[in-house]
């Protein structure tokens, strides 16, 4: 996978992919800049992946190291699956941003810095003794430092803004420069700015002027120095309509689609928590789709209300992150016992405890698969990317209503916030799974609320239905009638039935595929969730080198696909890369007794492709 820095060294001109990181103060609008650059990249037809990385603080004091906000994008003319290991280009809007992000920059990469920000005060805040732009410490990178602040002020002067407001246009100046660098049209941005500032046309104009000035600067500056315009060819993509989507958006949309395919109104019970809140926020704006959102007093109330709604005949959904999911465990048990549908979305973040709320991790798999009292089997599905999240959300809804069971859908902070191009799906292409509520007694004269169908599911009965009055609860229930029953045989039978029902889902999901490589061979890398990108790229690179390694990525964490055991046994070695201390490997080893070896990372950051590549090489060299 060629990169800007690499290509440049090799003297070539059209790299396959480039990684750019925009970094600045939280107040500098880096996420916005990144988002708009992403959009223009997508419009240019490149494939891409992004990684927003913002501070834990709401508004950290200006200029501090912990207040740095960054947005990384990897885009190219071939399939892109990660936000890139190391940036080729670092745009540093202030001193602290340079300090924090420089270590990641590829050797030979390009630094673009706003020299106007490198004042004594800011150097102090960023804990620099001398000015790095001047002391030669950046020698191993290309450096382009100029006073973006001053240039912006100059550009927006005609619009008579205050100094503060004028400086806020800096990010557009930078974006203009970036657009020039990668040969992108400015018009869509002009449109967007006009819309955004429809109520303050002078702001729109000022921002447009800044954008144009940045762009013009690129053209002029090209004459000399390291700044070169680069053109990345469009990626080969399936034809169709595209947009960018973040994981949180895609899950929200998938849940709406799932409810519609089930022909049900949706009830969403949530309680704010990072990074799960985004789903609540998205759904709160979709009320016209039969969505009711309820911001509960805590996570327990959120799940209980969702179960209540499911009981009453809507599709109950709840969502949180690790600490909040921990609080929901008891209620999940009730949903399992009463056999009511429910989707629980866990947007994982760094743990344990409060941990690292704004960082990503995959460390709630144990909790998802095993984290309840009693024998409490529950299906678990994991999304691999923002685009995949849509499908997974639909699948979670399907399993929930068809099997009358809660389903856990795992995503993580990385997927939730990252954006990628998404081929807009056609809802009509999904098979609907409309719910049939029971409306009449189902056993002659009798109602049997726990009579099971072929899938092992009990009927769904809406209160309000005449003649079907019955009582359910969390105490063990008699087979068929659902009445209280403490007898040994019955508890054995019901425990078995609950397990069999969930186990049976293995026959109702697609067989596990090998997403890159062959069935069988020397080495398989088995991943799940957001590690898809780095694993896939690492395997691709290794295979290009002729190494015998395949990539298997598991969506259905519980139950596992029926063929997975045999598939894993067809490899000499199995490695499971995870952003945790080895949780999925436990499930695989338990279920299949294969020697699945962990490759773990718990730094709150996604894997780098190179890390996984190294592990592949080592494993094959052993």
């Amino acid at each position: 996978m060629a990169t800007l820095a690499a290509e440049k060294q090799a003297g070539q001109t059209a790299p396959e992919a480039v990684v750019v990181r925009f970094a600045g103060d939280s107040g500098d609008g880096m996420q916005l800049t990144g988002g708009q650059f992403t959009l223009s990249t997508a419009l240019a037809g490149n494939d891409l992946a992004t990684f927003p990385d913002f501070p834990a603080e709401i508004r950290a004091p200006q200029g501090t190291l912990f207040g740095v906000s960054a947005f990384q994008i990897n885009f190219g003319s071939t399939a892109i699956e990660t936000a890139g290991d190391a940036p080729d280009v670092l745009v540093a809007m202030n001193t602290a941003a340079l300090k924090v992000n420089l270590p990641a920059l590829k050797p030979g990469g390009l630094v673009i810095a706003d020299s106007g920000e490198f004042t004594k005060r800011n150097l102090d805040k960023a804990k620099y003794d001398t000015n790095p732009l001047e002391d030669g410490s950046l020698a191993k990178w290309d450096l382009l430092a100029f006073d973006i602040s001053a240039l912006t002020l100059e550009a927006v002067k005609p619009f008579g803004l205050g100094n503060k407001e004028a400086l806020r246009c800096k990010n557009m100046w930078t974006l203009g420069l970036a657009l020039w660098m990668f040969d992108r049209p400015r018009e869509p941005l002009h449109q967007w700015l006009k819309q955004k500032f429809a109520k303050a046309p002078e702001l729109a104009e000022a921002n447009i002027a800044a954008l144009n000035a940045g762009h013009a600067y690129g053209e002029t500056a090209e004459i000399s120095g390291p700044l070169k315009q680069v053109h990345i060819d469009p990626a080969e993509t399936e034809p169709g309509l595209y947009r960018t989507v973040t994981g949180a958006e895609a899950i929200s949309l998938g849940l709406v689609a799932g409810a519609q395919l089930a022909n049900l109104p949706m009830f969403f019970g949530g309680y704010p928590i990072t990074p799960a809140s985004a789903i609540l926020h998205h759904l709160a704006r979709l009320k016209e789709f039969g969505v009711t959102t309820f911001q509960a007093e805590d996570e327990i109330a959120a799940i209980c209300a969702a179960i209540g709604a499911s009981y009453a005949g809507q599709l109950g959904i709840t969502s949180s992150s690790g600490p909040g999911i921990a609080l929901k465990g008891e209620a999940m048990g009730l949903a399992i016992m009463t056999e009511l549908p429910l989707v629980i979305v866990n947007s994982q973040r760094g743990g344990p405890s409060t941990g690292l709320p704004t960082k990503t991790e995959q460390s709630d798999l144990y909790q998802a698969v095993y984290g309840r009292n009693g024998d409490a089997p529950m299906p678990v599905i994991a999304t691999r990317s923002p685009a995949d999240a849509f499908e997974c959300a639909i699948e979670a809804c399907r399993i929930a209503v068809q099997y009358m069971t809660p389903v856990m859908l795992l995503t993580d902070g990385y997927i939730a916030n990252a954006a990628e191009p998404w081929k807009v799906p056609d809802p009509a292409s999904y098979a609907p799974f409309p719910v049939k509520f029971l409306t009449e007694k189902n056993d002659g004269e009798n109602l049997l609320p726990y009579k099971r169908d072929a899938k092992g599911a009990r009927p769904w009965i809406k209160p309000g239905t005449p003649g079907l009055m019955h009582r359910i609860g969390g105490i063990e229930k008699q087979e068929g009638t659902g009445n209280l029953d403490y007898s040994p045989e019955n508890h054995q039978a019901m425990t078995d039935a609950r397990k069999a029902k969930v186990d049976g889902i293995a026959n109702d999901i697609p067989a596990q595929d090998v997403c890159l490589g062959e069935e069988g061979g020397k080495l398989a890398l088995v991943g799940w969730g957001s590690t898809f990108g780095p694993i896939h790229q690492a395997v691709r690179r290794a295979r290009r080198k002729g190494l015998d390694v395949s990539h298997i990525h598991v969506r259905h964490i519980w139950p596992l696909p029926a063929n997975l055991g045999d598939l894993l046994k067809s490899y000499d070695k199995v490695i499971v890369p995870e952003m945790n201390t080895g949780q999925f490997k436990t499930v695989l080893r338990d279920q299949f007794l294969v020697d699945a070896r962990p490759l773990n990372k718990t730094s709150g950051q996604p894997f780098q492709i190179a890390e996984i590549e190294a592990a592949i090489e080592q494993a094959l060299a052993e």
């Binding site: 169709g240 947009r243 019970g269 509960a296 007093e297 109330a301 709604a309 809802p427």
Partner: protein, 342 residues
């Protein structure tokens, strides 16, 4: 409460086929009967009625009602009720809880349901003890209660459920007791109130906290120890020979003698279920040490409706949808898009 067509039923129609499993002599039996007596009077429809409960002896209640019933988990019934009601506002929801379920582990959910004002009836069976777990003291147990977990007497100050409810923003607060003939009346009023109706029902746990309410909840001396509050009526007791009056300079209540039924002369206060300040004071009577000699305020103490939560949610949902085309395909393709040609 719910305004739907009246359905004709009898007490028997509300008895489920499940064996009632409370201790013989438990006050819960009387409450069960009172409820089964009340529902036909309000023309309730079994198919449209849902009893939701947490965990506790009291929370077994739904099993015995021939209606829909959800026996959930400890303390969380208000949250389940909220989801049920939002999903189907037509349902008539009765929440059954205990002093442990609703005030100990579930206090927060109770509070939030009350402040949001979800339309439902909350029956809190207050036996001042944890019955189901065999007799530990509860948040409403009086100080010094001997129990397995407080062998030397409990030291915690008890909570007053009605004071808590008012502090949480409840718009209907009432009191009754298990064997009271007037309990159905109180329940009917609760049902008539559109919004969250909080009813504290003193209940005799004859196994672990026997006869705890005998100082006012027995026929003998009832006249002197029960103050039945009725909107627009003077706050009289002791057969009309005594009344409750506002002690202005001290901003508190006092007992006055009523001679020859002339309560106006005695400055007896007229009950006003819309007066929050009065409700606060009435609730404290007999419970707060300072008012130990007062009768226990019973009946509807406060009743001042406000728009309900589910009503507001539904209205907002409807408004949000107004004039909008809920087209999923369109939604998916929203925002800035681009087309890759084949």
């Amino acid at each position: 409460m719910n305004e739907l067509t009246r359905i004709e039923t009898t007490l028997k129609d509300w008895e489920s086929d499940q064996e009632v499993r409370w201790c013989p002599g438990c006050g819960d039996y009387a409450i069960l009967k009172a409820v089964q007596r009340t529902l036909p009077q309000i023309g309730a429809d079994p198919a449209n009625t849902v009893f939701v409960s947490g965990i506790g002896c009291s929370s077994r209640f739904p099993y015995y009602m021939e209606s829909y019933g959800f026996h959930t988990i400890h303390g969380r019934a208000p949250a389940f009720a909220t989801g049920i009601k939002l999903a189907n506002p037509e349902l008539d929801i009765w929440l059954v809880t205990g002093d442990g379920d609703g005030m100990s582990i579930g206090g927060n959910h109770t509070m939030h349901l009350l402040r949001r004002n979800l339309d439902c009836q909350i029956m809190l069976f207050n036996n001042e003890i944890y019955g189901l777990t065999k007799g530990q003291y509860s948040p409403t147990s009086r100080q010094g209660t001997n129990s397995p977990s407080s062998p030397l007497g409990s030291v915690d100050r008890p909570l007053s459920p009605c004071a808590f409810a008012l502090g949480s923003g409840a718009r209907f607060v009432a009191r009754g007791f298990d064997v009271s003939k007037k309990l159905p009346e109180v329940l009917i009023a609760a049902h008539a109130h559109k919004g969250a109706a909080f009813v504290e029902i003193f209940q005799n746990c004859i196994v672990y906290n026997k006869d705890r309410f005998d100082d006012f909840a027995v026929p003998k001396g009832a006249d002197d120890t029960q103050l039945w509050c009725e909107d627009g009526q003077p706050l009289l007791f002791a057969g009309g020979t005594k009344g409750i009056s506002l002690d202005e300079p001290n901003c508190t209540l006092k007992i006055v003698d009523v001679v020859d039924g002339d309560w106006e002369a005695a400055h007896v206060a007229v009950h006003n279920t819309k007066n929050r300040g009065l409700a606060h004071m009435l609730i404290d009577l007999r419970i707060t040490p300072q008012f130990a000699d007062f009768p226990m305020a019973l009946g509807v103490i406060y009743d001042d409706p406000r728009p309900t939560f589910e009503q507001s949610v539904i209205e907002q949902n409807a408004k949000a949808a107004e004039g909008k085309d809920a087209n999923l395909a369109k939604l998916l393709g929203k925002g800035q898009t681009w087309t890759v040609e084949g």
